[in-house]
């Protein structure tokens, strides 16, 4: 079985998601309307050809430092349950083909990485982390009250 993965980088790490899940790739630096009180990973909303998409920063989701200001970055447009999301990453690479099944997520990883990873592919002398973008979006959609145990606010 061949799996087509669109590769991209975030904070130097090679990542990927199934190419068929990606609607579009757009340049970063689009005008975003910030959403006060939204989850930290949600960096704003934007107009994508008449539809309103939610922009999510992968760096913020992974609790990494923001990219330097001059780096425009790229965004992957993903549709989930009829809604558009823009996943902001550092750079986008090629579509890679892999045979077989992805390797399991190593348990030694940082918890933030583990919660978004669904598998690992060997890629030359590097490893490609396959991300579970839909799981990540679903997690963002869960009401905050349910995400946090009582008393944390």
């Amino acid at each position: 079985m061949t799996t087509q993965i669109l590769s991209f980088k975030v904070a130097g790490q090679l990542c990927g998601i199934p190419a068929l899940d990606v609607h579009d790739v757009i340049r970063g630096g689009q005008r975003l309307t910030p959403v006060p009180r939204a989850a930290p990973a949600i960096i704003g909303i934007l107009n994508l050809r008449g539809r309103i998409a939610v922009a999510v920063s992968l760096r913020r989701y992974l609790e990494l430092q923001d990219a330097p200001r001059h780096a425009a970055g790229m965004s992957l447009v993903i549709e989930n349950a009829g809604n558009l999301y823009c996943l902001a990453v550092d750079s986008v690479g090629e579509v890679l083909s892999f045979e077989g099944k992805a390797g399991p997520v190593p348990p030694v990883l940082d918890a933030n990485w583990r919660k978004v990873m669904s598998g690992v592919w060997p890629c030359g002398d590097a490893l490609l982390a396959q991300l579970d973008i839909r799981g990540m979006i679903d997690a963002l959609c869960v009401p905050q009250d349910e995400q946090m145990p009582a008393g944390t606010l």
């Binding site: 910030p34 959403v35 107009n47 309103i52 999510v56 009401p143």
Partner: protein, 685 residues
């Protein structure tokens, strides 16, 4: 579920809705052969579909119902209330089964034997049973060719694309010159026309909602032992389908109220000289960009005594004030939150069960509800509802460089806070207020609600937008400035943002930027502020003895004076030499007319220029000459020491720790208009 089944379910549900309406008409009009034919055909079609979709239970029920109907059509069985009830019962069963299929994809289990026995007995009660059933299978509803069913998703997609087209058009318009002028002008026109027809495509006649109502009224009439006719007018009035869904419950509620509390029992109606059959009139019309829906009945009207008693019991009005309320003030009490609770419905024979909820629901979508009633003659409830929620007029405000939209329907007014201006913000601890026409309106800064630092730099001349909140109450949001006022196409928030109670949706602006739409009640909740009561409610607070706003002033010697602000229209400074004496009256030219003048009783103004309070009571107004303004009190309590009428003063009340003399404004206005009277030598100018 396959497409065929889906189609069948949609079609059947729609047809069943139409059947309700026809059956109620049938009961009134048993000899209408055309009507019987139509009902028969509908049931027959449902039955026919069951066969090839493999729905044996549904087929069985429809088959027996059809047999009874075919006799009505042949005229062999008289149509009685009982027989219509039987058919309605069968239809309910059919609906139940169809609903079950829609949910689970298979026929729900159940036993229909009792119902089928009843149907068979009805069939057997006639001598012959016509076998002409099959003749009708050829009769196909030819209406279907004129309309087309489109999925709501498709329509929404088209709206989105439309929005994009409008945006592209807006960006092209600045280049409308030279050889591009003609084609761009045409494009502009076409796009506008297209947008209009797109909006029209979302519209549905209000009548679609009304289809189920005759059945509800009929069932209630039978339960209550009343005779009720439901008349409907203006069912073709079109309204956005989304709005239609949202007014379904309030409308049903009003209708139930009218049938239950409004219409009297037949015997009572006859003794009152009315026809034994009560009438509820439901009408809809377009008026000024809104849809107006009236629910009128010719019943007993509101029982004001019962409402008042109930309001006193619930502590909404102190017992001592009850008598001084006018009929219309009493009627408005039914909208007060907490006026009625479900447990007390039967105890109260007046109207107003859950009216606060009806009002809150209608106000939530930017509409209004009014009520009027004449004792013994009936009541009318009028709802004004926006045509659509998809495109709303909005005010776009700025805060910290970002734009946010506020629905115009929620805005009461906009106030500029300028240094040294007429309106100044007041603080109590960290809470902010704006005194506005005698009300202390609580304020909240958008920056604070958004979680920004309280000390962040602020605009020099901020604006306050005063907002209504559903169910009554106003508060103000402080923003840095106003960007634009425009019509926006509202889109629902992404699920990732739906937990944010501050926003009700988002929209693309004319320049392509995206804005969040602020939700007034969400902001009030998040900011934890208690909105100031609305005028009607304010009146009730006043009745509850909390006082009313008043102006304090000085006139002559003696204690300070007070005039309730409700009577005060202006304060003017006049040149006394322009005052003329005619027929024992002192008058002056004032705004295209004459203003009768009077000095405050017990004072003798001597200045060349004197301040004048222009007071008003209904249409009558007069000027009261006084000396100086002392200030405003928010809550002047009731007069504690009353004076007899005819002195120009109601008596004394306690304001800010001292006794003030409260002006009897209506009496002074009458006196000024009548002129000097010799038996009141103390009133001298």
């Amino acid at each position: 579920m396959d497409e065929l089944m889906q189609e069948f379910l949609t079609d059947t549900t729609e047809k069943l809705g139409a059947l309700d309406l026809d059956l109620v008409r049938l009961e009134k009009n048993p000899n209408d052969a055309e009507l019987i034919g139509r009902i028969f055909r509908l049931v027959h079609t449902v039955k026919g579909n069951c066969g090839f979709l493999g729905l044996p239970r549904l087929e069985n029920v429809t088959h027996h119902a059809e047999s009874v109907l075919s006799q009505y059509r042949a005229g062999t069985v008289p149509v009685t209330t009982d027989s219509v009830s039987l058919i309605l019962q069968s239809l309910d069963r059919i609906k139940g089964i169809v609903g079950g299929i829609a949910e689970t994809g298979v026929e729900p289990a159940g036993d229909d034997r009792v119902l089928i026995d009843l149907l068979d007995r009805e069939t057997a009660s006639c001598k012959s049973m016509p076998e002409a059933v099959n003749a009708f299978s050829a009769a196909i509803d030819d209406l279907s060719a004129k309309s087309l069913r489109i999925g709501v998703d498709t329509l929404e997609d088209m709206m989105t694309l439309m929005g994009e087209l409008v945006l592209a058009r807006n960006q092209l318009l600045p280049h409308m010159r030279g050889e591009l002028h003609q084609p761009l002008h045409r494009l502009d026109k076409t796009v506008s026309a297209l947008q209009q027809s797109m909006l029209k495509a979302r519209m549905q006649p209000v009548g679609n909602l009304w289809g189920k109502l005759p059945r509800i009224v009929r069932d209630m009439a039978i339960d209550l032992g009343k005779k009720i006719r439901l008349d409907m007018a203006g069912g073709t009035t079109e309204i956005d389908r989304q709005v239609l869904e949202l007014i379904r419950d309030p409308l049903t509620h009003l209708l139930r109220n009218a049938a239950d509390h409004g219409i009297e029992k037949p015997a009572l109606r006859v003794t009152r000289g009315k026809s034994p059959e009560g009438v509820i009139l439901l009408s809809a019309r377009h008026e000024g960009g809104q849809v107006v829906i009236d629910v009128a009945d010719d019943g007993r009207g509101l029982d004001e005594a019962a409402i008042l008693q109930k309001a006193i019991e619930n502590g909404l009005v102190p017992a001592t004030r009850g008598r001084s309320l006018t009929a219309s003030q009493v009627q408005q009490l039914v909208f007060a939150p907490g006026f009625s609770t479900a447990a007390e419905v039967t105890a109260l024979s007046g109207r107003g069960v859950g009216m606060d909820v009806v009002r809150a629901n209608i106000e939530k979508i930017g509409g209004t509800v009014e009520l009027s009633s004449v004792a013994g003659k009936g009541a009318v409830v009028t709802m004004r509802i926006p045509l659509t929620l998809a495109i709303i007029p909005a005010l776009v405000v700025k805060t910290e460089g970002e734009r946010y939209a506020l629905p115009r329907s929620a805005i009461r007014e906009v106030v500029a806070l300028k240094r040294g201006g007429a309106h100044q913000m007041q603080r109590i601890d960290r809470a902010k207020f704006l005194p506005l026409r005698g009300q202390m309106v609580p304020l909240v800064s958008l920056q604070t609600v958004f979680g920004a630092d309280e000390l962040a730099p602020r605009a020099l001349n901020p604006f306050v937008v005063i907002l209504h909140v559903g169910g009554g109450g106003v508060f103000g949001v402080i923003c840095d400035g106003i960007a634009t006022a425009e019509e926006i196409v509202v889109k629902p928030l992404s699920p990732a943002l739906q937990r944010l109670r501050l926003f009700s949706g988002n929209a693309v602006l004319g320049d392509g930027g995206v804005v969040l739409i602020l939700d007034p009640s969400g902001i009030a909740r998040e900011a934890n502020i208690e909105p100031a009561p609305k005028p009607v409610a304010a009146e009730m607070t006043m009745l509850a003895g909390n006082g009313r706003p008043a102006l304090l002033f000085r006139a002559g010697a003696g204690s300070d004076r007070a005039v309730p602000l409700e009577y005060l229209s202006r304060i003017e400074r006049i040149d006394m030499s322009t005052v003329q004496n005619t027929g024992g009256r002192r008058v002056m030219a004032y705004r295209d007319g004459l203003l009768p003048l009077i000095a405050y009783p017990g004072s003798t103004p001597t200045g060349k220029r004197q301040p004048v309070l222009v007071i008003r009571d209904g249409d009558a107004q007069a000027g009261v000459i006084f000396d100086s303004v002392l200030g405003v009190v928010d809550a002047l309590p009731d007069v504690a020491l009353k004076l007899e009428s005819g002195s120009g003063s109601l008596g004394s009340a306690l304001a800010e720790g001292q006794a003030v003399d409260v002006m009897d404004a209506p009496w002074l206005i009458r006196r000024a208009r009548e002129g000097l009277m010799h038996d009141h030598p103390d009133i001298v100018i």
